[in-house]
């Protein structure tokens, strides 16, 4: 009864096919527009080139999206990541500016650690609202989304704080082992998240809670702890992203840092094949999704369209992704395909 699917069938059946194809298509468009697009050169032991830029630019979105993936898998959503990133940047920059030795290595380390710790606390707060008080995630995290910007403003006293610390700015522009630190950092978090979810039982329990919370509760799953964990992780990821964004400009503007990054992150998650309804998630898919969004942002000016149109194209992507996920649209697609035999739809059974 169950024929082993061929390699092609399995590949086509994989959730990763569409995002990878889409990404490849974007890259091809870029190469056509700019034949040197794939050129990578080595200079002073560092890699440079459009592809490296894309990878580095995608680091903040990827970080935020990784946290978002796990939150979404539990049927939640975290709207506060942008605000958390802003707070992270604000705390780190203010600490550096306020310290006696602004340029020191230790100063940067202490500042970043403090910032990330604050973000973990903010994640705890979100997790508390959702898992203990049972507030709907979208509302619970909306609280911090709005209040967080205010907090960040308070930290920076409403000023654009500029810092001068080499270690800190290396977060965005430095290199280790020929690659930008930002890329390595984001990939490290990706590997950590993958190990944490797939080498332990966390991933399975997250999915169980996301798919059927009541069955999970009756099976003895500590869903509260699990939900709490994913929000803290999301907070941590957003914090790291905030540091990279702040380091990129060596300054923090509490109003604009990480603005709308939650939307990019959610988009990356959805492009990667994780359903907003919760349940099964794919971190690898999210990685591809984040790369896709960053590549898209790069493609638009590259093919000669004003970059203001970026949002328009993102919106198009959202529409396409939604269509691909909608059962009705999939059904319609299947009907058009001549070979596929559509089973006669059966009436719903008795309630």
């Amino acid at each position: 009864m169950t024929d082993r699917p061929t390699v092609a069938q399995r590949l086509l059946g994989s959730q990763l096919v569409w995002p990878v194809l889409a990404l490849a298509m974007l890259l091809v468009v870029n190469v056509i527009a700019t034949p040197t697009f794939f050129n990578i050169r080595m200079q002073d032991g560092h890699l440079y080139g459009p592809l490296v830029d894309i990878a580095r630019n995608s680091a903040p979105i990827l970080l935020v999206a990784l946290g978002m993936t796990l939150v979404i898998a539990t049927r939640g959503i975290d709207l506060s990541v942008g605000a958390i990133a802003a707070i992270s940047g604000a705390v780190a920059c203010t600490q550096i500016v306020d310290s006696s030795d602004q340029g020191a290595f230790a100063t940067a380390i202490i500042a970043c650690t403090t910032a990330v710790a604050v973000c973990a606390l903010l994640g705890l707060w979100n997790g508390f609202l959702v898992s203990v008080l049972g507030i709907q995630p979208i509302i619970a995290t909306l609280v911090l989304m709005v209040a967080g910007r205010g907090l960040a403003q308070l930290v920076t006293s409403g000023q654009i704080t500029t810092v001068n610390n080499e270690t800190f700015s290396n977060l965005a522009s430095g290199f280790v082992l020929t690659l930008p630190i930002a890329i390595i950092g984001a990939l490290a978090v990706f590997a950590l998240a993958a190990a944490l979810t797939r080498r332990t039982a966390l991933g399975m329990l997250i999915e169980a809670v996301g798919i059927n919370p009541e069955a999970s509760r009756l099976a003895g799953v500590r869903s509260r702890t699990i939900i709490w964990t994913v929000y803290v992780f999301s907070g941590l990821c957003a914090g790291l992203a905030g540091l990279i964004i702040a380091a990129n400009t060596n300054s923090v503007n509490a109003n604009s840092l990480g603005l709308f990054i939650e939307l990019d992150a959610i988009l990356a998650v959805v492009i990667g094949g994780t359903s907003l309804a919760g349940g099964r998630f794919s971190l690898l898919g999210t990685l591809v999704g984040a790369l896709f969004i960053t590549t898209l942002a790069r493609t638009i000016p590259n093919v000669g369209i004003p970059s203001e149109a970026n949002y328009l194209f993102k919106a198009l992507v959202v529409v396409v992704v939604c269509l691909l996920q909608s059962p009705a649209a999939r059904h319609a697609l299947r009907v058009r395909r001549p070979r596929a035999v559509v089973p006669v739809s059966v009436k719903a059974g008795p309630a």
């Binding site: 009864m1 169950t2 080498r199 332990t200 039982a201 966390l202 399975m204 329990l205 999915e207 169980a208 798919i211 059927n212 009541e214 069955a215 999970s216 509760r217 009756l218 099976a219 003895g220 799953v221 500590r222 699990i226 349940g279 099964r280 059966v346 009436k347 719903a348 059974g349 008795p350 309630a351």
Partner: protein
């Protein structure tokens, strides 16, 4: 069989005193895929009567109602309204014929006023905008006509659920309803609230409305209904006049099969000797929960199977959920091996080696998008915590062992749970709990809706487990099954434990009599 079951009295009543029925459904059949949900069922409704639709879960009551309300299209049969043949192709067509339904769950808008809810979609208008004053007046008149003292301008959501239900009824009959269908209207009401509802129903009956009443509470049926139609397994069993049918007869009709045949059923009551000398593995002392089940005592010994019998809605499930901590008890205490325990969540019970398989497989058991292997290991993994994953070798060994032992098909650990049949899903859920090596296994309807082969396998498994020393609480709507497997029998009724006795020489009819007899005893004591 259908025709023979009609008592002469019922036929007379129909023919002589009532004239043409308001609604007549004849030979209604509905098929879903390969399942025949209704098979030649008939229903006659007369003006000014309360007609109870009786039958166990899955007997076809809701399918019949949905055929009448136009939700399902019928495959064969005839529906006539006041003698005129009608086709109900949509709910709107049914409503246009004067049939209104009030569902178990109130589906009104809580943040609109009572009047707005009642007039929703047909608000009186003046100059194009809603005439609030006229709307409130009309709604008030309707409510008063039903003897209800509810302020039409108050917010619906501010009222208790019982009042909301009455408003829903008021809305339903206000649409010139000839037929009112009440599906389990009393399930969330207390006695006083139900009495209020019955008052409204009587008033409507006097006004000539035909009321279809579906309830699992036999006493309520006897209090309010005039006639009843009994269904079983999608077939018509008979139509009866309530006053001329004893509760025992009714229960037999609902459960079915001839009594003699039942008595002859061979029972292989577990030959195991329950070890009652030691302390009970689980002991409930007066535990109960308001609105769920009245306080009860229960002792469970090693290697013993306790069967819980009772009709649907009798509190069987609620009892099990309290023992497991799925719901927390308001009163009483629970002892596990003589130590007092408080189960605030299922986790606490699982830590004490208690397992519970819910009757609602889909909502409370199956994690559809995970694999069979993950579903099996969920409870064990949960109790280990996420930091200690089950080693791959152990996973494979456990999963393959149970797939074999329980004959789960397809025998593929990587198959998605939602693609399995009901019986195989049930086996996976059993495996989920057996893997945790429980001392107490609570099974709520483990054989419901699964095919006969899987059913026999599960029954055999329960007997084997008990022989090996596991204590089992076995809940099933099928009395034969309960009698075959249990050492001791607990009978539930109207959310109370009404009897407990060793399962020796107890027949199905004995149990039926306990279920029905209690009502008589109660009535006697009330008089």
């Amino acid at each position: 069989m259908t025709q023979m079951d009609l008592t002469p009295a019922a036929t007379d009543l129909t023919a002589d005193h009532r004239g043409t029925p308001v609604i007549e459904m004849e030979g209604i059949s509905i098929t879903f895929g390969s399942v025949r949900a209704l098979d030649g069922v008939s229903l006659k409704l007369h003006a000014g009567e309360v007609h109870a639709l009786m039958g166990e879960n899955g007997a076809g009551k809701s399918t019949l109602i949905k055929a009448l309300t136009g939700v399902y299209t019928i495959d064969s049969g005839r529906i006539t309204v006041a003698g005129e043949p009608h086709e109900f192709s949509s709910p709107a067509a049914s409503q246009a014929a004067g049939i209104s339904t009030v569902y178990q769950e109130v589906n009104l808008v809580p943040n609109l006023t009572v009047a707005e809810n009642m007039m929703l979609g047909r608000e009186p208008r003046r100059f194009g905008s809603i005439n609030t004053r006229a709307m409130n007046r009309q709604a008030g008149e309707t409510l008063a006509g039903l003897g209800l003292d509810i302020d039409p301008t108050s917010m619906l959501g501010a009222h208790p659920i019982a009042v909301q239900q009455l408003v829903a009824i008021a809305r339903a009959v206000d649409v010139e309803a000839r037929v009112l269908i009440l599906d389990e209207p009393t399930s969330s009401l207390d006695a006083d609230e139900a009495a209020k509802l019955f008052e409204v129903m009587r008033r409507l009956r006097e006004q000539g409305v035909a009321i279809v009443f579906v309830s699992h509470f036999l006493d309520q049926v006897y209090e309010i209904a005039d006639r009843m139609t009994i269904l079983r397994n999608g077939r018509l069993v008979g139509e009866r006049v309530v006053a001329e049918t004893t509760q025992l007869e009714l229960v037999k009709l609902m459960i079915g099969r001839e009594l003699e045949a039942l008595e002859r059923l061979d029972r292989e009551v577990a030959a195991t000797e329950a070890d009652e000398s030691g302390s009970p593995v689980l002991k409930a002392i007066g535990i109960g929960r308001k609105g769920s089940v009245e306080a009860f005592d229960l002792e469970l010994y090693d290697g013993e199977v306790i069967g819980i019998a009772g009709l649907l809605g009798s509190g069987r499930t609620e009892l099990a959920r309290l023992l497991f901590g799925a719901d927390s008890a308001d009163v009483g205490e629970l002892k596990v091996r003589s130590t007092r325990r408080r189960f605030r969540s299922p986790r606490h019970a699982i830590d004490r080696k208690i397992a519970f398989s819910s009757e609602d497989r889909k909502a409370e058991g199956v994690v559809g998008d995970l694999t069979v292997a993950d579903n099996m290991l969920l409870a064990l993994q949960a109790s280990r915590g996420w930091l200690r994953p089950i080693p791959q070798a152990t996973r494979t060994k456990l999963v393959e062992e149970y797939i074999q032992a329980l004959d789960i098909r397809p025998a593929d650990p990587a198959a998605l749970m939602r693609n399995l049949s009901g019986g195989n899903q049930q086996k996976v859920l059993l495996a989920r709990w057996l893997i945790t090596e429980p001392e107490v296994l609570i099974l709520d309807e483990p054989t419901r809706g699964i095919d006969i082969g899987a059913k026999a396998q599960i029954q055999q498994l329960v007997a084997d487990l008990a022989r090996k020393g596991m204590s089992v609480v076995f809940i099933s709507a099928e009395l034969e099954e309960v009698l075959r497997l249990s050492d001791r029998l607990v009978v539930m009724r109207d959310r109370r434990k009404i009897a407990e006795r060793p399962n020796q020489d107890v027949s199905v009819s004995d149990v039926l009599e306990i279920i029905a007899g209690e009502a008589r005893a109660e009535e006697d004591s009330r008089d």
